[in-house]
């Protein structure tokens, strides 16, 4: 803790989290405010655990004096005691909502949200999750494909041209599929380097020119004719001649960019083998194991031909690369317009927005300048960042670093020394370079800051493993400590980098019984079978041990988990991403049902759902024909969305499932949850839904009491008592990752992009060869990291299973294990099991020394109902509104009509007018006639009612008469809570002021004319009026019999008494 800025290289299991949390506590102890400590990591899970760990550590130190003393010593603040840690704990807890502690992505999004207009965004944005971004891609492609009424537009025509160039030599049958693959492959690369001049530009790749592309003096046809003739004159042996004939026959058929036919490749290889001699004009070329001494003329002809071929290939690759760029740009233009401008960004988009642009201008940089143009990050984010803690630093990408750099520069260069930088990581666990993780950063940053101020940053190595027992560490050292063997196997940058960073490991758990071995098995079936035997022998679950089987791919994980369950009877779960929509019969049938409803001609879907329980379930609901299905399901989906529609059917299917079938029920829940996610996109399109569900994946929750099968990548950061690695075969480790070649400057700026030609061609060019060598070294380094991660997951036992390398030359994992652990086969014992293997260390009977697991602590009981609740029950009544009158039939088309107004509006207006009338009489009528003169139909009708002789009594005032107009009431009636409004009630009081009678008048603007219609309307409204009668009786304080109820039909007008009922 002495140095202000620290970089920690923490080997696997060496207490990375421990170091991080201690750092956090140390900063607190020195008075740092928790909201000023930025702590960033990669996964949300890691961030959550980090926070919990800090709190737990402080809480324990606040309670346990010994622990407090230990912690105080660890952070070199020996005077601190429990009370101090309690204070820190309180401080952290109170600032919880303000802590900048989380993921890099989240941190970047937070900055971007505070500066939308500065970043060219339109206000707020939402983060596009993976599932939604797939949907967006589909829509963007549809939009691109749509045809304008007057034909394809310029952009579309350009796109077609670009596509042709990008796929030259391959007359693709299907566009959409190809494009989809294109985007999967290249989109990220495009976004990293959108500038056209970086793509397939010879002058950038070969600034000093490329000899192959130099103009040629002779015509190819001439050279071919001459060479053909010259060779013919030689009377070559038939086999040799045949080679040449094939060559000349294939030459005109070949188009560059297409795979090289063997006939061409053969001659080309042999010519290039003696290329410098060919250039000098005297070459001995081998064909069919015999040499041909070529004359100077023949050499010249051959040289022309070879140059022509190579040049054509290079030219085509350049052209294709530019085409790929143009295709991606075409897509991106539409995507940007439709998606990003609509406020939907991926985390990658956010990061790119914040990255310094080409001119080096950066949002985060501006924060450093105090003067003009300064951006007030601290102001808008309500935060000042004094201390930086970065986790898993080897996985940080250069782009991420470039966003943070300026902020961290400020901290490192802070003259007052109140700010600090701390990062921790393990360059030996750099297995995410394919996701732009950049392990070189570690060293570069270290050197950068120390150059500026020597000793500014201290470096620490943690090599003691608190996770793995001695045997495992012995195996790790035996493999990775063999610098000589690594250098021999992988000469060059990969082994150099590895050996430079390597430190011998130690186990901090010397007493732990542990075992590690490399076991032999010839092929996959044997490796799987051996895994089962091992697990049966170890019986990890019975002993309460955590056990993981690690693979290289998800597919193997799934297959292996299946195998373990089926053949071994071992409860194993593949922790791959589960396709919950389609990996089970229930989900698949529901998708078929939806598809069949929207696309009744899909006989595959129709037959499919009818092969299942759905047939009976739907029949019971009256759905037995395609027609019924289409109408029913589409109506459900459009009315309520997929979640509710699917939930509806799943509820009916549920009883048909086997009672013990917890799995299908779980899937049903997951299916509905996924449907809800889809509904959130707003789409009601069944095809989109089906496509979404087919892709949708769920990560299985961590489960106890099973053997976990997962990829090594997923196991990063985890530890298990027992680890089996049965999937170490495969290709050579120094294999360049496929796809476009991207050359970057040491500053990681993209220099050029090229669709790399095959090896035969690129090997002829130093620039390309160098690129490939570097890419291979990078791949090789990552492959070493992957094995390191796999091996170091184990606590007590580690078993790697592979074939012995034998004589194979492929530089793969078996070869690596052979080169480091040795080639002698020996018998290795694991418990009672004996098997063949190449190496072992530790205690073969380790499992017998495992203490049986303590019974699990009882979890707090679930909340139960209150036993005596009934006595405190509060009333909850049905709510009724008699006047809301949800009854009757309206014309649907009329309900959408703009003009004429709705019946409801008209009624409201008439009611409002009546509410103004206290009593009638000629004078009143005259006044209202004037006031309402310009108020249209409603007023005319109201006025007519005021004047109508038939209604005189409604408006008649007089002594002892009281009127309620538009008066609201609340009442409990027949156990229901009734809310309503009287239109007009007239109460007659006697001289003493006691109410004697009441008349309820209810105005109706219904269109009624004939007597039958009026009678029907009275019938319809009778119930409402009779409840009004009872309410009025209560409110006016008279008997129900003393209340009369009348309906006033304002059209007419007509007045009808409602008989009591």
């Amino acid at each position: 803790m002495s140095a202000r800025h620290v970089m920690i290289l923490a080997s696997a299991g060496s207490g990375k989290t421990y170091a991080l949390t201690n750092r956090f506590v140390a900063l607190l102890a020195r008075g740092a405010r928790p909201e000023r400590i930025v702590a960033l990591t990669f996964t949300r899970k890691a961030a959550g655990e980090f926070f919990d760990e800090i709190l737990r550590k402080l809480a324990r130190a606040a309670r346990e004096p010994e622990f407090a003393a230990q912690l105080a010593a660890d952070i070199e603040q020996p005077r601190l005691g429990p009370a101090d840690f309690l204070r820190m704990l309180r401080g952290v807890v109170e600032a919880m909502h303000r802590l900048p502690l989380g993921t890099l992505d989240g941190f970047f999004a937070r900055i971007a949200r505070a500066f939308p207009l500065e970043l060219g965004l339109t206000g707020e944005f939402e983060i596009l999750q993976e599932h939604a971004s797939r949907l967006e891609r589909r829509r963007v492609l549809q939009r691109m494909f749509a045809r304008a009424p007057d034909g394809l537009d310029t952009a579309q025509r350009e796109f077609i041209e670009a596509f042709k160039r990008a796929t030259f030599g391959a007359e693709e049958k299907r566009l959409a599929a190809r494009l989809d693959a294109f985007l999967d492959e290249h989109q990220e690369k495009f976004l990293a380097a959108p500038a056209a001049e970086l793509w397939g530009e010879a002058s950038r790749i070969w600034p000093r020119g490329n000899a192959w592309l130099a103009p040629r003096r002779r015509k190819l046809a001439d050279a071919v004719a001459d060479l053909q003739a010259a060779l013919a004159r030689r009377a070559l042996p038939p086999k040799q001649q045949a080679r040449w004939d094939l060559f000349f026959a294939a030459l005109p058929e070949w188009s560059p960019g297409a795979p090289l036919p063997r006939a061409l490749e053969y001659i080309l290889e042999n010519a290039l083998a003696v290329w410098s001699d060919v250039g000098r004009g005297c070459a001995e070329m081998t064909v069919e194991r015999k040499r041909i001494a070529l004359t100077p003329d023949e050499c010249a002809d051959l040289a022309t031909i070879v140059r022509e071929i190579v040049a054509a290939e290079f030219t085509r690759r350049l052209e294709t690369t530019r085409g790929i760029h143009a295709v991606l740009r075409g897509y991106e233009t539409v995507y940007h317009d439709a998606v990003r401008r609509g406020g939907k960004l991926t985390f990658g988009d956010v990061q790119r927005l914040l990255q310094p642009d080409v001119s080096g201008e950066s949002l985060t940089r501006a924060a450093a300048d105090e003067g003009e143009g300064r951006l007030f990050i601290d102001f808008r984010l309500d935060a000042q960042f004094d201390h930086w803690l970065l986790d898993e630093f080897q996985d940080t990408s250069f782009g991420q670093w470039s966003v943070l750099r300026n902020l961290i520069d400020e901290a490192v260069q802070n003259p007052a020394g109140e700010r600090s930088f701390f990062c921790v990581g393990d360059v030996k666990q750099a297995i995410f370079t394919w996701r732009e993780g950049d392990p070189r950063l570690f060293r570069e940053i270290f050197e950068h800051y120390n150059r500026m101020a020597p000793g500014a940053i201290a470096e620490k190595h943690l090599v003691q493993s608190w996770r793995s027992g001695p045997a495992i560490i012995e195996m790790v050292n035996a493999i990775f400590g063999r610098g000589d063997a690594l250098a021999q196997l992988f000469p060059g940058a990969a082994s150099e980098a590895w050996n430079r960073e390597w430190r011998a490991h130690e186990s901090a758990r010397a007493q732990l019984a542990s075992h590690a071995a490399w076991l032999h098995a010839a092929d996959e079936p044997e490796r799987f079978a051996l895994t089962v035997r091992l697990l049966h022998e170890i019986a990890p679950l019975e002993r309460g041990l955590e056990c993981a089987v690690l693979t290289q791919t998800n597919a193997t994980a799934t297959a292996l988990a299946d195998y373990l369950r089926r053949e071994g009877g071992i409860p194993a779960i593949a922790e791959s991403d589960l396709r919950v929509g389609t990996d089970n019969p229930l989900g698949a049938a529901l998708l078929a049902l939806a598809q069949a409803a929207a696309h009744p001609g899909d006989t595959l879907a129709q037959e499919h759902w009818q092969m299942t329980q759905l047939r009976a379930v739907l029949a019971a609901e009256g759905v037995a024909t395609p027609e019924a299905l289409t109408q029913r399901l589409l109506a459900q989906v459009h009315a309520d969305g997929f979640e509710r529609a699917m939930e509806f059917w799943l509820r009916r299917i549920e009883p048909t499932l086997a009672p013990a079938d917890a799995f299908s029920r779980e899937r049903a829940r997951q299916f509905v949850a996924a449907a809800a996610l889809f509904d959130a996109t707003g789409s009601r399109d069944v095809a989109e839904f089906v496509a979404f569900m087919e892709r949708h994946t769920v990560r299985d929750a961590e489960t106890a009491g099973v053997v976990r099968v997962m990829t090594i990548h997923k196991s990063k950061g985890l530890g298990f008592d027992v680890v089996v690695l049965p999937d170490l075969e495969g290709q050579r480790l120094d294999q360049r990752r496929g796809g476009l070649a991207i050359q970057r400057t040491p500053e990681r700026a993209v220099e050029w992009v090229l669709d790399l030609p095959p090896k035969l061609f690129h090997a002829q060019d130093e620039t390309l060869s160098e690129h490939v060598r570097a890419a291979e070294a990078e791949a090789c380094y990552e492959a070493l990291s992957l094995l390191y991660v796999g091996l170091t997951r184990a606590k007590r036992a580690m078993y790697a299973i592979s074939k012995p390398a034998g004589t194979s030359e492929s530089r793969n994992y078996p070869k690596l294990l052979t080169a480091t652990l040795g080639a002698h086969e020996q018998e290795i014992r694991i418990g009672q099991l004996a098997c063949a293997g190449g190496w072992s260390a530790g205690d073969p009977a380790w499992m017998t020394r495992v203490k049986p697991p303590a019974p699990a602590a009882k979890s707090p009981e679930e909340t139960a109902p209150i036993a005596s609740a009934e006595q405190w029950r509060v009333p909850r009544r049905a709510a009724r509104r008699p006047s809301s009158g949800k009854a009757g039939v309206i014309d649907a088309a009329q309900a959408f009509a703009l003009e004429g107004g709705s019946a409801a509006d008209f009624g409201t207006e008439v009611h409002a007018l009546f509410a103004a009338v206290e009593w009638g009489g000629a004078e009143t009528v005259g006044r209202f006639a004037r006031e309402w003169s310009a108020r249209g139909d409603a007023a005319a009708q109201a006025l007519a009612c005021l004047r109508a002789a038939e209604l005189a009594e409604v408006w008649a005032g007089g002594a002892g008469r009281e009127v309620w107009r538009e008066r609201g009431f609340e009442i409990v009636l027949d156990g229901a809570w009734v809310t309503g409004v009287f239109d007009r009630v007239v109460i007659e009081r006697d001289a003493a002021g006691r109410a004697r009678r009441a008349a309820v008048f209810d105005f109706k603007t219904d269109r009624v004319a004939t007597e039958e219609e009026i009678a029907a309307a009275v019938e319809r409204h009778a119930a409402q009026l009779n409840s009004y009668r009872r309410v009025a009786a209560v409110l006016a304080g008279v008997a129900v019999a003393a209340v009369t109820c009348e309906l006033i039909f304002t059209r007419g007008p007509h007045r009808r008494t409602v008989p009591p009922g």
Binding site: K45, A47, G48, D52, L58, A59, R63, L86, L89, V93, H97, L117, T122, G123, Q142, R147, G169, A170, E171, K173, A176, A258, I573, L586, A588, P600, D602, T603, T612, T630, L634, A635, H638, A639, S664, D685, T703, A704, G705, P860, T863, A864, P865, I866, E870, W872, V874, P875, R881, K886, I890, A892, A893, F896, A897, E970, I971, V972, T979, V1034
Partner: protein, 941 residues
């Protein structure tokens, strides 16, 4: 506002019992029950609409206890108070304000406001302006809560305010908006609110105003109440014991400082506070509690949902346990069928693409209109099927193309439906918005009725009403704000409709799902609150583009500290009022639904310092991993329908059977075939068919029999291809078709070259497109030979089949595949030994062609070869590939295999299926964990 006018009085309702009954009694005052409880002269301001409803119910209940009823007070929220108070005919609606904002943003010189727009936006279209307008409108609303306009921010922000210039410029923008509205005779609504609050009008009949249990009222409303307090009594009712008086201000708001540090009491904390894995687990646990209360839980238990996003989860969980729930927030109309229909109509109006047609075609209301038009026998399913077939066959770009291609044989629903769509399109195009929309809907709903007693019709009628409101609002605004295009009005109206919500009455007995702020008013003895995580309770704003916390503080707007104080108070109150007669259960999640880690609410950590370490250990413990019992289990096996075996098959059918007899059954007997719902380009079969058509025409053209000129052949092929493509797709092609047809042309051009070469080498086409039917056993095998060539110099013959697969296939490889483990179970006749190795027949096409030739005695003379004319995507590889490995022995074996397969098909042998990789299995959707295991073949249905 920290002053106390004489008429402002605080009252305390103790929290040892629920608020509602006490509040009702307090409002009733000394009412004796002799007459109705008449509160007409009182205004009651409540925190939420829902609490207002509850209050009215409580008043009815209170009066009912004495056999009486209530003339209720006017109950409204602070927001409604300001809205109704300041309402006037000349106040601009939200829509008008947004239109004004949008206009200003599109017109203004952005260079004049560089602090607001430091970088120029890429394009200043309406979508851009609208999104910003909404942001600025929201900002206005936030500031107006505190009684401020943009122009007043700088003055209130105080010294050393870093964004002075920016706010000056924002004020310029707001001023421009106000001016723009004024020019149209409208008053800006926020300004109107602020103005009203300065001089609030109180109806004369109102004799007192009550601010009831509102811990967080809008400050602007308080300004109005303060003015009223000069005239009438304004009574502030606080739900807390009198002894807590020091913890509240004059308006009954919890004081930040008093609540920030206080200890919140929840008895039996470690039993009442429960950690769940995620919101789903919370929802399930809450649902189980409710279930424990039997048939009528409402009134015994109540649910609070602090995390609004988790509400649907709780709804689902309750539904699953059979408990009806009610979401007082309602659902936005965006989720309604009408919205989807309108979106489809808008898309159709904008561009009648075929996708727009297909989307509208599936709207239930469209289907209803179609069926209504077509009469009793009209079928929605037939219409959709015909539409899909039309798409598959002709890939029409738009409505016009679709109508042109609709064939006479298609079911009558197809022309009927397309005509209806065309009619709608014409109306939408002809008439402006909203008239066109209204007319189109009139057409669709013509003759239909909404029976309001049916829930779905009632809902449809409500939706219609809401949409009509949106249309009218646009119509009215359009009179003042011109210059927008029809699609822009559509967008605006759809947004406004989509965002408005449908609120229903609470069904009797349904359990209400209430937000955190409603809980103060809840009176059920048992209260279960889910989502008590930090960020939900209390919520906090960290960082903001305009109003970060520091500025909020300076401006007197709601701060995080105030939120904490409010929520701490609510927590204490809802716990306290259940301490004697009930219980509060608090659930919180370790992770969000998306897997983000969550933290417990800070409220839960408000304990005495001495308890804090234990509390932290308790709350931050890891959640126990669920023991699992979820091994993959098969819910059911498929029971396919049984149909008799076919009497005839195509040659390709044999290949299907050889690959997998069960899939043969599905494809050829049950005729299961998928529909590619959004087919936008040729599939492999279409592509082949089109190329074939041209190649066949060439073979049949006598004039070209002996042609060796590549150019002539090419031109012929391309012309024929063009004609075929045009006949099928018309002249107007979509982008993918352009690309694909071009690709086909390239392949054909190369084929012309190869054909010319072959002819020059002596091969003439003897016969083309030759159909045959071979009886094999009891099975008739049908096929069509693409061409039979004769080599003039030698007299040899060969049959050729055109192949347009992506890579050139050697015939041998296509017909026999290597023997694999597991193939032992295959019948002898499917296996063949060739070159000393065991193989299995995969296809019999070419041998069957030869057999057909034999049948016609055409194979006399020198032996006949067989092969492919490959047209792969690498056109350099276009060539005739003759099956050189085809020996007489091999042919005999192929014949034996054909006999065996034919007999098996006739005998109905369709089992067992092959196990194929899903990506190569057209029926993959049917099978999980093995095809054979997925099907109950023996159980006939």
């Amino acid at each position: 506002m920290e002053f106390s006018p004489a008429n402002l009085r605080r009252h305390f309702i103790p929290w040892d019992a629920p608020l509602l009954p006490q509040a009702a009694a307090w409002l009733a005052g000394d009412w004796d029950g002799a007459r109705p409880l008449d509160l007409q002269a009182t205004w009651v301001v409540v925190p939420t609409r829902q609490s207002g409803r509850r209050l009215r119910e409580a008043l009815a209940e209170f009066a009912a206890a004495r056999g009486q009823a209530v003339f209720p007070p006017r109950v409204l929220t602070a927001d409604a108070l300001l809205a109704t108070g300041s309402a006037a005919p000349d106040v601009a609606t939200r829509l008008e304000s947004l239109l004004a904002w949008a206009e200003v943003l599109r017109e203004i010189d952005l260079a004049a406001v560089p602090e607001v727009f430091p970088v120029a936006p890429p394009r200043r279209d309406l979508a851009w302006a609208w999104r910003l307008a909404e942001n600025f409108f929201r900002l206005q609303t936030q500031l107006t809560e505190g009684g401020l306009g943009f122009g007043e921010v700088v003055a209130h922000a105080g010294a050393a305010f870093p964004e002075t210039e920016r706010w000056h410029q924002l004020a310029q923008l707001e001023a421009a908006v106000v001016e723009k509205l004024a020019a149209r005779g409208r008053r800006e609504s926020h300004a109107a609110r602020r103005a009203w609050a300065r001089e609030p009008v109180l109806p004369p009949e109102i004799r007192r105003v009550v601010l009831l249990a509102s811990p967080d009222p809008l400050p602007l409303a308080l300004a109005a109440l303060a003015r009223w307090a000069e005239r009438v009594p304004v009574e502030v009712v606080v739900f807390a014991p009198e002894s807590e008086a020091d913890h509240f201000d004059a308006w009954g708001r919890p004081l930040d400082a008093a609540w920030a540090q206080r200890v919140l009491a929840l008895p039996e904390f470690e039993r009442r506070v429960q950690l769940c894995a995620d919101p789903t687990a919370e929802a399930e646990r809450a649902a189980r509690v409710v279930q424990g209360y039997g048939a009528a839980p409402d009134g015994l238990v109540a649910l609070g949902v602090a995390d609004a996003d988790a509400l649907p989860l709780l709804e689902s969980s309750l539904t699953r346990t059979g408990v009806a729930s009610y979401n007082p927030e309602g659902r936005p109309w965006r989720t309604d069928a009408l919205h989807t229909l309108l979106v489809a109509l808008a898309a159709l109006r904008r561009e009648p693409t075929f996708d727009a047609v297909a989307a509208l075609a599936r709207c239930p209301d469209f289907l209803a209109a179609l069926v209504a038009r077509g009469g009793a026998t009209a079928s929605a399913a037939r219409w959709l099927q015909a539409l899909d077939e039309l798409r598959a066959e002709h890939l029409p770009a738009d409505l016009r193309a679709a109508r042109e291609h609709a064939s006479a044989e298609a079911p009558r629903e197809l022309p009927l439906g397309l005509e209806l769509i065309a009619e709608l399109r014409a109306v939408l195009e002809r008439e402006a918005f909203p008239a066109g929309a209204a007319t189109a809907l009139g057409i669709l709903f013509r003759g239909r009725q909404f029976d309001l007693s049916r829930p779905d019709d009632a809902r449809a009628a409500e939706a219609a009403e809401a949409w009509r409101g949106a249309m009218r609002e646009c119509l009215a605004a359009g009179e003042r704000f011109g210059g927008l295009r029809a699609h822009e009005w559509w967008d605006i109206a759809l947004r406004s409709f989509g965002e408005s919500r449908r609120t229903e009455d609470k069904p009797a007995g349904a359990l209400e799902l209430q937000g955190w702020l409603e809980l103060l008013w809840e009176d059920a003895p048992h209260l279960v609150v889910t989502g008590v995580n930090d960020g939900f309770v209390p919520d906090a704003v960290i960082g903001d583009a305009f109003l970060p916390e520091a500025l909020r503080e300076r401006l007197g707007l709601k701060t995080n500290a105030a939120r904490f104080a409010r929520d701490a108070y609510v927590f204490q109150a809802i716990a306290a009022c259940r301490a004697r007669h009930g219980r509060l259960d608090v659930l919180f999640a370790k992770n969000s639904a998306l897997g983000e880690p969550l933290r417990p609410s800070r409220l839960l950590l408000r304990c005495a310092d001495a308890e804090l370490p234990a509390r932290v250990a308790f709350l931050f413990r890891p959640v126990e991993a669920a023991p699992t019992n979820r091994a993959w289990t098969r819910a059911w096996k498929l029971a396919p329908r049984r149909a008799p075996p076919p009497a005839r098959v195509a040659v390709t059918g044999l290949r299907t059977w050889l690959a997998c007899p069960f899939r043969f059954y599905l494809a050829q007997v049950l005729r299961m075939e998928p529909v590619d719902a959004d087919k936008s380009e040729l599939d492999a079969r279409d592509f082949g068919t089109l190329c074939h058509a041209a190649l066949e025409a060439m073979a049949r053209e006598p004039a070209l029999r002996d042609c060796t000129e590549e150019k002539t052949l090419r031109e012929f092929l391309l012309a024929r291809f063009e004609a075929a493509a045009r006949a099928r797709f018309g002249a107007e092609l979509t982008l993918p078709l352009v690309v694909q047809l071009e690709s086909a042309r390239q392949r054909l051009a190369k084929a012309a070259a190869v054909q010319a070469r072959e002819r020059a080498a002596g091969w003439t086409i003897e016969r083309a497109e030759w159909k045959f039917a071979l009886p094999i056993g009891g099975l008739e095998v049908r096929g069509k030979i693409d061409r039979l060539d004769r080599h003039e110099p030698s007299g040899r013959r060969r049959v050729l089949d055109y192949k347009t697969s992506d890579t050139a296939i050697p015939p041998h490889k296509a017909h026999v595949r290597p023997f694999r483990p597991g193939d032992e179970r295959l019948p002898e006749w499917m296996q063949v030994t060739h070159d000393g190795r065991r193989h299995v027949w995969a296809d019999l096409q070419l041998p069957l062609y030869l057999r057909a030739l034999d049948a016609e005695n055409l194979a006399a003379g020198p032996s006949v070869d067989a092969g492919y004319f490959n047209l792969p995507k690498a056109v350099g590889e276009t060539a005739v590939a003759v099956w050189s490995e085809l020996t007489p022995e091999l042919r005999a074996a192929a014949d034996a295999c054909a006999d065996g397969a034919a007999a098996a098909i006739r005998a109905g042998e369709f089992w067992p299926p092959a196990e194929l990789a899903p990506e190569r299995d057209a029926f993959a959707a049917l099978f999980q964990h093995g095809a054979a295991d997925s099907v109950a073949w023996e159980v006939a249905r």
